[in-house]
C-alpha cells in the first residue's frame, strides 16, 4: 500500500492584525513530526490548519494517501485529530460517544470494534458517562477519537497532557503503530515527553 504524506506549503496565519506564524513548510511521510514552541506560538492553530479545521491566511496543505492527492471530503476521514478543546457528549458513555462519532462519520461501529479501541487507550470496562471522567480519562478518550477511523494521517495536540504512566504508554502504542503507515504530527510545549520524532519543527515566540 502506498503510504500517506502531508505537505505544508508556506503556511501563515494571522487574525485581527496579529500574526501567529508565517511561511511554515515541511513534508512528512510515515514518521513523526514534533511541533514545539512556547505558549502562544501557534502550535494548536497550526495543527488545526493541518487537520482542515481552520483555513490558513495564506499557503496550503497537501495531503496524499494511496499515492494520490486527497480531495476535501476525503480529508475528513483521512485525518485523525485531537486537541485540548475536543469535548464529548457528557450524558453518554465513552463507548456511546465513539460509536456515535463513527456512525456520524459514515462507518459501521460494531461493539467489538469499539471495545478494542477503548482497550487500546485503557478505558475498557468504564461504564459511566463522560461527565464523570477525570482529566486523564478524557484525554485517553481524545486519543481514541483521533484514531477512530484508522486514519492514515494522525495529528495529536498535547497528547500527553494529564496522563499517568499507563496513559502515556497507551499514546506511545498508538503513535508507534500509526507512524508506520503514515505521518504523525504531535505538538507539545515539552518535546521531551513526546515519542521520538523524525523531524522537529520549532515555532518561534510570537512577535508582539
Amino acid at each position: 500500500m502506498a503510504s500517506a504524506r502531508i505537505e505544508a506549503i508556506g503556511l501563515s496565519k494571522s487574525f485581527s492584525g496579529v500574526t501567529l506564524f508565517t511561511d511554515v513548510s515541511f513534508t512528512l511521510g510515515p514518521g513523526v513530526l514534533a511541533v514545539t514552541g512556547p505558549n502562544g506560538s501557534g502550535k494548536t492553530t497550526l495543527l488545526k490548519i493541518l487537520a482542515s479545521l481552520l483555513r490558513p491566511t495564506s499557503g496550503s496543505v497537501r495531503l496524499e494517501a494511496d499515492g494520490r492527492a486527497l480531495s476535501g471530503d476525503e480529508s475528513r476521514t483521512s485525518i485523525g485529530w485531537s486537541g485540548p478543546d475536543l469535548s464529548f457528549y457528557p450524558e453518554l458513555t465513552a463507548a456511546e460517544n465513539l460509536s456515535f462519532f463513527r456512525r456520524a462519520a459514515g462507518f459501521v461501529a460494531s461493539r467489538e470494534d469499539v471495545l478494542v479501541r477503548l482497550e487500546t487507550v485503557g478505558l475498557e470496562g468504564v461504564g459511566e458517562p463522560v461527565e464523570h471522567f477525570s482529566t486523564g480519562m478524557k484525554q485517553r478518550l481524545r486519543i481514541a477519537f483521533a484514531d477512530l477511523l484508522d486514519p492514515p494521517i494522525l495529528i495529536l495536540d498535547e497528547p500527553m497532557s494529564g496522563l499517568d504512566s499507563g496513559g502515556r504508554a497507551a499514546v506511545q502504542r498508538v503513535v508507534s503503530s500509526a507512524r508506520r503507515r503514515g505521518p504523525v504530527v504531535l505538538a507539545s510545549t515539552d518535546v521531551e515527553e513526546l515519542p521520538e520524532a523524525d523531524q522537529v519543527l520549532e515555532l518561534p515566540r510570537r512577535e508582539k
Binding site: S14, F15, S16, G17, N39, G40, G42, K43, T44, T45, L54, R55, P56, T57, S58, P84, D85
Partner: protein, 229 residues
C-alpha cells in the same frame, strides 16, 4: 452617471408638483386621496425590489464570500425596511380616509407587515452576532431561506378573499385602470423612486464597506477559543 444624479432632484420636484397638480383625482375615491397612489405604490414596489436585491446579493455572497456583496444585501434590507414602513404608513393613511380605520388586517396590508417583520428579524439576527464573517454568512443564509419560502408569504397571506385594496394596478383584468395623465405621472414616480433606491443603495453599501475599515483577512477569520494557542 453623475449628471443623472444631479437631475434627480429637479426630476423628483417636478414629479411631486405634477402628482398634486396635473391629473384629476380618480373616480371612486374620496376627495384627493387617489393621489396617494403616486407615493404609496412606488414605496411598496421599492420595498419589494429591495427584498429581491437582498436575496440575490445574499446568494452572491454565499457563492463567493465577497464582503461587498454582503454589504449590498445588508444595505438593501435597511432600505427595504424604510420603504416598507413608508408603504404601510401611506397605505394606512389612505385606509383611514377611505374606510375610517388605519388598520383592518386586509391581506395586502398584512403581507407587508410580515415583510416588515422579516426585515427586522434579519437586522436583529445580524446585530446578535459579533464575528463579521459569521454575521455575513448567517445573515445571508437567513435571507436566502426566507426568499425560498417567500412565495408562501406573498400568495398565501393575501388569499384571494375579499380585499379592500384598490385594484387599479394588479387586478383580474390585467389592465392598468388609469387615465393618461395619471399613468404618466405614476410611471414617472415609479422610475424616480427606483432611482432614489438604487442611489441610496450604492451610498449605503459604500459607507458600510468604509466603516468596516481594513479588509478582513482571507480564509477563516475565526478567533481561537483560548488565548495563547
Amino acid at each position: 452617471m453623475k449628471a443623472l444624479k444631479l437631475l434627480l432632484l429637479p426630476y423628483m420636484a417636478a414629479f411631486v408638483a405634477a402628482a398634486f397638480l396635473w391629473p384629476a383625482p380618480a373616480e371612486g375615491f374620496i376627495g384627493e386621496s387617489s393621489r396617494i397612489v403616486f407615493f404609496h405604490v412606488p414605496c411598496a414596489w421599492t420595498a419589494t425590489l429591495a427584498f429581491v436585491v437582498a436575496a440575490a446579493y445574499s446568494v452572491a455572497y454565499l457563492a463567493r464570500r465577497n464582503p461587498r456583496a454582503d454589504a449590498v444585501a445588508h444595505a438593501a434590507v435597511r432600505l427595504g425596511l424604510l420603504f416598507a414602513v413608508l408603504a404601510l404608513v401611506t397605505g394606512s393613511v389612505f385606509a383611514r380616509i377611505m374606510w375610517g380605520s388605519f388598520w383592518n388586517w386586509d391581506p395586502r396590508q398584512s403581507s407587508f407587515l410580515l415583510l416588515l417583520f422579516l426585515y427586522a428579524a434579519y437586522l436583529f439576527l445580524r446585530a446578535a452576532i459579533d464575528d463579521p464573517e459569521r454575521r455575513a454568512r448567517i445573515g445571508a443564509a437567513y435571507a436566502v431561506f426566507a426568499a425560498i419560502l417567500m412565495p408562501f408569504l406573498v400568495f398565501v397571506v393575501p388569499r384571494v378573499t375579499e380585499s379592500l385594496h384598490p385594484q387599479t394596478i394588479i387586478n383580474p383584468e390585467g389592465k392598468i385602470l388609469m387615465d393618461s395623465p395619471t399613468k404618466v405621472v405614476f410611471f414617472a414616480g415609479l422610475a424616480g423612486f427606483t432611482a432614489i433606491f438604487l442611489w441610496l443603495l450604492e451610498l449605503e453599501s459604500r459607507l458600510e464597506r468604509l466603516a468596516a475599515g481594513a479588509p478582513a483577512p482571507s480564509g477563516n477569520g475565526n478567533l481561537p477559543r483560548r488565548p495563547g494557542v
